[in-house]
Symmetry: C2
Subunit: 463 residues, 2 copies
């Protein structure tokens, strides 16, 4: 019953048909104006509320929420904190879900006011996201409640990664990084002070969300540890889930407290529990993004295991194919640190490749195609060795003329045949931007260093 209720109310949050915006403004100089502007793209009905205007950005405006003639699925409130309890009461029976964007609650010591908001929410029987949050971005519904203008923060495209963040700042950093990493998103949101809807509710919903194949989440603290573990574990069992927990240090913990008004708890305890339940924890922002990218590009949900190749049955055997010796060595080093095996090539394959390739190629693992490389060499090697490894790292340093844009379609074709994780490192150089874009269109994730590529591969092999 609880589960059903949670799913239904969150459906109104993620997929509303009508929206009220209380605190709508006439210009983008005000946050309420930015939100209204972003809501103009929404395909359902939008009711701006502001007593000073009869029209805002081409939409009929209402003096108060009372004056809206219909019930709404979602109401977004951006008004000064002290006004919020009264505004909430106006919603009784007339809204399915509420986002309180306003700050000025527990995060600045106003715990009583926050408690009042919480209790009022229970009284009126409506689920609340926030306060002190940015709300939702759901590109599948053209829904965007963020108070950040698109000129300042371009949104990621439609995709399969859900992002759940306690912090709006981190959410905006993640969005920016995802956009520039060509990662598409399904649903993105911050829940701020979480008087009602919290990370656990969201994990529960997203575990069953058909648009979402991967969930990444940034948290500073949890309200109910037991429920968090239960929901995170369930989510983890259904689809890849990567968590970044901050507040690891003393100063980090007190910072997290002052910023959301929730206690972070001892990190070591938290981390060991997470590990015990098989939930993947990222060490830092880069790792969160890098993992999400690999999994988003090559892992489908419900996630079938990739067929592990070879008869020996050792998993996580990595083949590194490179046109730069040193880059291959750095990748092999990182494989070791990540517990991935850079196993020797089978002797018969080695002999065959020695006949095919020029004598100065390094027929080992890493397989060194040298600066004399041609695009087709990667394919030759993959064709020979695809059954002997579980994952493939392609290192293409496009500073030599033998690497061309033609490498992308060749790799796409063989990746679709091989059906195993295959990712790439492309170093910064003349055609690297264009080549990266072509690789990523072919769903081959590209990383800017050999080590980060290996970490991406590790994420893919361990979910």
């Amino acid at each position: 019953m609880k589960l059903m209720n949670n799913r239904m109310s969150l459906d109104y949050l993620f997929n509303p048909k009508s929206i009220a915006l209380i605190g709508a403004a006439h210009s983008e100089e005000k946050l309420g104006g930015v939100i209204l502007k972003n809501l103009l793209a929404f395909k359902g009905k939008v009711y701006p509320v502001n007593p000073k205007y009869s029209e805002l950005m081409g939409l009929k405006a209402y003096p108060s929420f009372y004056d809206i003639p219909d019930a709404v699925d979602l109401s977004i409130i951006i008004r000064p904190a002290p006004e919020i309890p009264e505004i909430l009461r106006e919603h009784k029976g007339k809204a399915k879900c509420i986002i309180i964007v306003s700050s000025g609650f527990a995060e600045v010591g106003e715990t009583e006011l926050q408690e009042e908001v919480k209790n009022t929410g229970k009284e009126i029987g409506i689920r609340i996201l926030g306060p002190n949050c940015m709300g939702i971005y759901n590109p599948h519904r053209r829904l965007d409640t963020f108070f950040l203008p698109h000129e300042r923060l371009k949104r990621p495209k439609k995709g399969n990664v859900a992002v759940v963040s306690q912090s709006g700042a981190i959410l905006s950093c993640l969005i920016g990084a995802m956009r520039s990493s060509n990662i598409g998103v399904s649903k993105v949101l911050t829940y701020g002070n979480a008087v009602d809807i919290n990370e656990s509710d969201l994990y529960e919903y997203l575990a069953d969300d058909k648009y979402t194949d991967v969930v990444v989440s940034y948290i500073e603290s949890v309200v109910d540890g037991r429920r968090f573990i239960e929901k995170a574990k369930r989510l983890s069992g259904k689809k890849p889930f990567v968590l970044l927990k901050s507040g690891k240090s003393q100063s980090g913990q007190s910072a997290a407290f002052s910023h959301t008004g929730r206690l972070a708890g001892r990190y070591e305890v938290f981390s060991s529990i997470i590990k015990q339940f098989g939930i993947k924890e990222a060490d830092d922002m880069d790792e969160l993004i890098d993992s999400a990218k690999a999994i988003s590009f090559q892992k489908k949900s419900p996630h079938p295991s990739f067929t592990k190749g070879g008869a020996g049955g050792i998993s996580d055997r990595i083949l590194i194919i490179t046109n730069g010796g040193g880059s291959g060595v750095l990748a092999a080093d990182e494989c070791m640190r990540q517990g991935l095996e850079v196993t020797e090539l089978p002797e018969d394959k080695k002999e065959r490749l020695k006949k095919i390739f020029p004598h100065f190629y390094g027929i080992n693992n890493p397989l060194d195609l040298t600066a004399q490389v041609n695009d087709a060499d990667y394919i030759t090697a993959l064709n020979e060795l695809k059954d002997d490894f579980d994952g493939f790292l392609i290192i293409a340093l496009p500073n030599v003329l033998g690497i061309t844009e033609g490498l992308a379609p060749l790799l796409k074709k063989i990746k679709d045949e091989v059906k195993k994780p295959l990712i790439a490192h492309i170093a910064e150089s003349g055609i690297s931007k264009r080549l990266t874009s072509l690789f990523e269109k072919a769903k081959i994730p590209v990383y800017p260093s050999p080590e980060r590529a290996v970490r991406g591969l590790k994420a893919l092999l361990s979910v």
Copy 2:
């Protein structure tokens, strides 16, 4: 005497007045053509050698090295490996230094041929760089012997970072990353198989090079461990020096062997010796670049210590000023991991800032200016707290309208007054590219994540 000789011969390598190119070609489809094209920008005399042409790219060409009428400071050879010993003999008494670009020696099992090259070098009494290397890039002399076209690999601008790499591939990756990170270079080179000039010779030279304030080096193996330690230690004592050693894993070690024909040795032993002598080792490519950037931007050689502030005398106290709470928390976490202290604000300053700033700002460390931030807030905070900390991390998430390009000149001014490490994290967003460029022109290094910024600060505080 040895030192003098080393310095003098390397002077001919880095600052030649005349250059011969044996194996010059008429078009950039050949490596000898790319090198010749790159040498056209060189301000001294260039003698292309190729028996098939009387002129190459507008320069008079010579049938052989014999036919060049003058002695040359530097001769660059790019001819098939078996021809090299004979070509070397032609140089006796007529060149001061030689770069052998050609591959086909120990790295492909041709150890005898390599031995012959080594011995011939001694016979003729001329210092040799290579074989199997890319040579030199010295922007201060417009000298560029790389066989990589500029369209494929843009060179970094003139600056104070020297790069010494055993591997050409890694060198090209470092160059690409440095270019895009706005890091300027003094001298850049690869030494490949190192039959003569090796990392130790180069460290010795660069320790005394007035153009170089920082040295970064990528190595896979060393020939003479004792001498390496001696020279690395001496260099480290004179200016900041950051080392990336690969071949940490078994497979990495054998890959390094096949790629340069030198044995890498046990990494653990190497690493503990390095540490003992106070030489900074980077964990991966990102850390090498991130460290180099911070040090290059804010550390001068011979390096005076930054004045450590405050009376207590605790070093490495970091102040984090942020407009995103979560980003501040992640930075604080990384400070803990890096052994940097995010100490509390002094009580009196705290009281004062509470009076100056809006009540919802978080007056702690991290200092949270929230999404309501204005550029001037950073300066207000720095002015109050500059004497209480040893290093400053500015986190500017430019997704809000309160962060403008005007922040760069404000920070530049106060940085010049404060005279302590001050670095920044700017997240990807609307104006981040432009803002980053303005910060970096003001010599404030910018990093794409809070954690990488902290690692940059750590590098700066520990050299």
